[in-house]
Amino acid sequence: MKRSVEGVWAVLIILTIFAYLLGELKLVNTLLVGILLITTFIKGHLVIDYFMGLKNVRWRYRIILTLWLIIVISSIALAYLLPTNIK
């Protein structure tokens, strides 16, 4: 599907407003942290594909950034979602 750069910008802004509202309204619980990290992944991937222009480049270059995004976001998710001793 072909996306316009304006559409990508609009999605990025909407997802940023969503993240801000979660923080402002103190609505950050385990489920919402998960959703927030998924939206962060989507935002990152939109930047990689449509702003950096890797959508139309051979997969070997695109996969490096995609893997980086997956590793970083899943590590953050792991750190936040694993049970911990809250002082």
Binding site: V8, E24, L54, A79
Partner: protein, 199 residues
């Protein structure tokens, strides 16, 4: 599906050297992000209480600024990427305007961040206050330096558009600066929820 439409470019946009820089930056920031997330596990209450001292609205505005400036850069690059012959001058003029808008947003980010840092320091917080502030200041200041460098790069690229320096046959310079700026945007897109929102 039309097979011609699915043909991929052999190399990413810009100089290949910038992609080496990008990969190094991604590893560096990636380790710092993961380091922050796992360090938080050692004292969740301290991280949550310290995070309350941050200005989430400032972080939100910073995000809007960087996303929008990245969009302006895409418009600038697209303006010159297909410019040939008589269209080169008008395409460079247009790119120059988009770049100016992106530079102004970059400067706005820097000013906003300096105000945020001065407010944090005025409250008595520093790198040695606790682990949260060590990571917060390290991450945001390191990122700040990248935005500052990116703004200088955009300024230099804009100087070249003013002499109609870019065209379909020579757009590598503007693409190189562009992908660096998008990297700065990509890093902030993770930094913002990680440090300012998630608790």
């Amino acid at each position: 599906m039309n097979k011609a439409l699915s043909i991929k470019e052999p190399y990413p946009p810009g100089d290949f050297a910038i992609w080496i820089v990008i990969y190094i930056e991604l590893v560096t920031f990636g380790l710092m992000f993961i380091g922050y997330a796992f360090s938080r596990r050692a004292d969740v209450a301290l991280f949550n209480n310290s995070q309350l001292q941050l200005n989430q609205t400032a972080g939100f505005i910073d995000t809007l600024i960087l996303i929008t400036s990245s969009y302006f850069i895409v418009k600038a690059v697209n303006s010159v990427k297909n410019a040939r012959g008589a269209k080169i001058q008008s395409a460079n003029n247009l790119a120059s305007k988009w770049l100016l808008a992106a530079i102004l947003l970059g400067l706005m980010f820097l000013v906003n961040k300096l105000l945020e840092f001065s407010a944090v320091f005025a409250q008595g917080f520093s790198l040695s206050t606790n682990t949260f502030f060590m990571f917060y200041l390290l991450l945001t200041m390191f990122h700040f330096m990248h935005v500052a460098l990116g703004t200088v790069i955009l300024f230099n690229i804009r100087q070249r558009t003013r002499t109609s320096g870019y065209s379909a046959d020579d757009s590598r310079g503007i693409e190189t600066g562009g992908v660096y700026w998008h990297l700065v945007d990509l890093l902030w897109i993770i930094l913002f929820p990680l440090v300012y929102i998630i608790r």
